[in-house]
């Protein structure tokens, strides 16, 4: 976009920015903003976009082997949505002055991160259901408050995404309902999958509040509306009755209702595992990045051909 320019002194700009945040109004792309606010958003939105793109792989694994045409069509639509969510988010990140190509490079060179949850493998078809129920459920807890994030393009992308995530979670839960009403083998598959995904799902909310250095600033900027621990608690409280309805056990001996707090007490995730997976030592980190890199490189000739065609016809 082109525009005319008009110089305003920086202290005034900072005051206008802060007043906008304090009034709970949205910051838009061409508004002045502090460098740290811009940097924080680029990091968060890019990481979120990368998560959607990498997130296509664990479930994409089952598209060819879905047990019916109905399940296959649903799974295809879901994975296509994940691609779409990645695109909305990359577009939002680009309004902050980064380049799409640059973001892709940073993902495949592992200089930007994505959610640790996608570094776990999906060896069982029940994982498709459990990802929809728990992983997408946790994502929804994280994402709903982001619809009110102070940065306009990010908030608007999140509104679109949240509308679509609801289908993701429900299809997963419905799939699990079908399996728990099936054979004993199918019921066991669901329990085995829940046992593997429960703790990594709790880790999706990030470290405990005391170990989350960015939370306070992000909350002051209205990027984040709740702390990691608040959201984790909300997720546990939502999941318990859902697990009961499925007849599965959540693998936490410390999980119980606390009438005083009117909330569930629960155990501590293994944070050393979380740190290791973030650092690249999860079960599928190498595979996920290699696949994304290969897809990008194999698509190069398509991008070039389309560009050549466009130049020829312009």
């Amino acid at each position: 976009m082109t525009a005319t320019h008009h110089d305003v002194r920086e202290p005034d700009l900072e005051a206008v920015f802060q007043a906008t945040i304090d009034a709970d109004q949205r910051i838009e792309p061409r508004d002045w903003m502090p460098d740290d606010y811009r940097r924080t958003l680029i990091r968060q939105i890019a990481q979120h976009a990368h998560s959607e793109i990498i997130g296509m792989q664990p479930e994409g694994n089952w598209i060819t082997r879905a047990p019916s045409l109905r399940r296959k069509a649903i799974l295809l639509a879901k994975v296509q949505d994940e691609a779409g969510h990645g695109m909305y988010l990359y577009a939002a990140a680009e309004t902050l002055g980064v380049d799409r190509e640059e973001l892709t490079e940073k993902l495949i060179s592992a200089t930007q991160k994505y959610s640790s949850i996608f570094n776990y493998p999906t060896p069982s078809y029940a994982d498709v259901g459990v990802i929809g129920w728990l992983v997408d459920g946790a994502a929804i807890c994280n994402q709903v408050p982001l619809c009110r994030c102070s940065y306009g393009p990010y908030a608007r992308a999140m509104v679109r995404i949240c509308k679509e995530e609801s289908f993701h979670q429900r299809q997963g839960y419905e799939l699990l309902l079908a399996m728990v009403n099936g054979t004993p083998e199918q019921q066991a598959m669901v329990q085995e999958s829940v046992d593997r995904w429960w703790w990594p799902s709790l880790m999706m909310f990030g470290p405990a509040d005391g170990d989350s250095p960015n939370t306070q600033q992000s909350m002051a900027w209205n990027i984040k509306r709740h702390t990691n621990d608040e959201l984790r608690q909300r997720f546990v409280d939502m999941s318990v009755p859902q697990a009961e309805a499925l007849g599965v056990t959540l693998p936490d001996p410390d999980l119980r209702w606390n009438p005083e707090r009117q909330a569930h007490d629960f155990g501590e995730p293994d944070w050393s595992e979380f740190t290791a997976v973030i650092a690249g030592s999860g079960p599928a980190n190498t595979q996920r990045l290699a696949h994304r890199r290969r897809a990008h490189e194999n698509g190069a000739w398509v991008r070039e051909a389309a560009q050549a065609y466009a130049e020829k016809h312009s």
């Binding site: 082109t2 525009a3 061409r30 695109m87 909305y88 799409r100 190509e101």
Partner: protein, 96 residues
């Protein structure tokens, strides 16, 4: 391939249904206009969100500057007589 510059950015506008304006919904990259239209359909109307799509290269849009917001819109700020509520009409007069 990396020296080839990336596909241009397009802004996307969707008409939700007949009778409504096209509304900005986001942006995307495409090699040319036709591809932009197809990508916009796949990206922004997967659930019947639109009956018509406009795409325009982002670089073709001229925008007012946010830092000039106040002076730019100032001319309309003090013209209260442009609003119907400026005019006092006796309550018993109907249909006004």
């Amino acid at each position: 391939m990396s020296e080839r510059k990336s596909w241009p950015l397009y802004e996307v506008f969707v008409r939700g249904k007949r009778g409504l304006n096209h509304v900005h919904v986001g942006s995307l990259h495409a090699a040319d206009d036709e591809m932009a239209l197809h990508n916009a359909r796949d990206l922004y109307t997967r659930r019947n969100e639109g009956v018509s799509i406009w795409v325009v290269k982002a670089e073709a849009i001229t925008a007012s500057s946010p830092s000039e917001k106040d002076p730019f819109f100032a001319p309309s700020g003090d013209k209260v007589y442009r609003h119907p509520t400026f005019y006092a009409i006796p309550e018993e007069v109907p249909h006004l």
